[in-house]
Amino acid sequence: ANSIMERRAESVFAYIPQVNYNQWEPRNEVWGENFPREFETYYNTKDTSFRSKYNGNAMIDMLEVDPRLVVLWAGYSFSKEYNQARGHYYAVKDVRNILRTGGPVDENDGPMPATCWTCKGPDVPRLMNEIGVAEFYKGKWAGKGHEVVNPIGCGDCHDSETMNLKITRPALVEAFQRQGKDIEEATHQEMRSLVCAQCHVEYYFDKKRVEGANYLTLPWDNGTTAEAMEEYYDNINFSDWTHQLSRTPMLKAQHPGYEIYSMGIHADRGVACADCHMPYKSEGGQKFTDHHIQSPLNNVANSCQVCHREETEKLIKNVYTRQDQIIENRDKLEELLVRAHVEAKKAWDLGATEDEMKPVLMDIRHGQWRWDYAAASHGGSFHAPTEIGRVISTGIVQAQEARLSLARIFAKYDFNKEVAYPDITTKAKAQKYIGLDMDKLNKEKADFKKNLIPKWEKKAEERESTYQVKK
């Protein structure tokens, strides 16, 4: 009886803030004092125990799972290390640990620019507010290591006064503007996806816009399909790197999550990222948004079943079926691209000319871009399976077109054998094949962790101790 009495009272609940802070408060724990339920669930992103067929919140070494990637990215930092992402809680930790960011010895050292911090936590809007956006994008990654220490959290998505959803990253706003759209007109439901679109999007660094800055830019001016973005990059003659084997001016696709989701049936029906990845949850009659952002397959009851009355197993099977249908051909495309790179190298070795190779390299560039567009977004095979299937087909056509031209070049140079497929059955073999000195890279990273990180943490602690939080 008591519980019934209590529970009737539950629904009436007055919100009394426990602490007072402003928009630039980067510490999730502080916001969390006012919103314990959201904070506690947010903190669950620390969990790494769930694995689905292809994803989940465990960290998965993708180069080990699929060593072909090493060859596809030869000459680019992704061939050193690339993992299937885990929870937001790890954002800062993982960008520090990854071999891609190297082992800088001081704030002017290392392979990566400061812009790499942009999507890693709420210190970013704080810092942008302090020093300006362009200034934020300047300098080396190591130069701002002491600034960005809190992982993705409240300040990235919320207004501190109203707790309304908020866009805190300029790149998204600018991309909307260039498309002639006003992000301020977004509806509440659209905001439930747009906060994610601040980060889960394809991007590149524009080095021309502001002198000395790697300006974060979303290549959406012509649209967000694989073709539209490809055209954008072709028009500005952009490439992320030159492939070490085939000498192709390559494009790297990074997690075009929002773009692909937008082309799926769920987006068509107005379902937002948050509906599946942050479903509502009730605890003691109090409804709130589950901030444990993760694979919905670890929470089918509260996500899918709100809209679908099928059994959990069936819904999971639906997801796996789509992923299987895509990934079978995605893997095939990878193999064809590996062959294309290796064969292109052979053609160069035989003495093929720039002119002869140009169309081949264009096909490789486009074929791999489309593969990456489909592969880099880990949710894509479910978010928009029919579109991803389409893109992969076009990628296969291009990869094979490149190989056909290569076969003709071989004939011209009197080479009439199949080029052997390299032995890349493990990550180690593949990295050796492209000539990476992993011991050196690991050593540098270890030194960096021992020497630089403690300094960053100390500086950050000092800074944060000066922040005002009224109780």
Binding site: A1, S3, S11, K287, A301, Q305, V306, R309
Partner: protein
């Protein structure tokens, strides 16, 4: 029978404490029934289902459906083949709901049980048999009734009447009647006073 009663009745010196304990139980039970508005559960008034806020989404969606004017919750969710069945089912269902509710065991997304499904389905048919059965066909096609009625109606009519979004949080701001009167207390008092005069 008498023997049985004797066997069950406590020894004399325990009688008084037992009476007190039993009394307390009865009192408590009445209190529970009162608090949970259990009696209202016997009526057909849709508002009574919303005594539990967990029923709010269903109430709100129903309130906005074509069935609002023509059917109550119980028209669909309770058997109407005979009176005994109606109240038996109600009691069983009600007790289950109340226990789960009190134990805070309700899931975020409630699913209708097979038994309840069957009941609702038969109620759809009860009201719509005119549309479903063609008397001409019924005489000629022995399976006619079975063929038109062997799937849950809402396999096709997926939106009737609760829509397709089902979760305790699906209608956060709905004006679900928290049992109250539209007239403010001060006015009631005033009216009462003027009444007695």
């Amino acid at each position: 029978m008498v023997k049985l009663f004797k066997l069950l009745s406590p020894p004399p010196k325990w009688r008084f404490p037992v009476m007190i304990v039993l009394g307390a139980f009865v009192g408590l039970a009445i209190h529970v029934l009162y608090l949970s508005k259990a009696l209202s559960y016997l009526s057909d008034e849709p508002k009574t289902c919303v005594n539990c806020h967990v029923m709010a989404p269903q109430y709100a969606t129903y309130q906005h459906s074509s069935h609002r004017e023509v059917a109550t919750c119980n028209d669909c969710h309770v058997p109407h083949n005979n009176v005994v069945n109606k109240y038996l089912f109600k009691a069983k269902d009600g007790l289950r709901h109340a226990s789960i509710f009190a134990l805070r065991m309700e899931p975020e997304v409630i699913f209708i049980l097979d038994e309840g499904s069957e009941v609702v389905h038969n109620n759809c048919i009860r009201c719509h048999s005119q549309t479903l059965t063609d008397p001409k066909l019924a005489t000629q096609v022995p399976q006619h009734t079975q063929n038109t009625q062997d799937r849950a109606c809402w396999e096709c009519h997926r939106e009737v009447p609760h829509g397709r979004v089902n979760s305790l949080s699906s209608v956060p701001n709905a004006r679900v009647p928290v049992p109250s009167s539209p007239i403010p207390d001060w006015m009631k008092e005033y009216l009462n006073e003027t009444d007695t005069k």
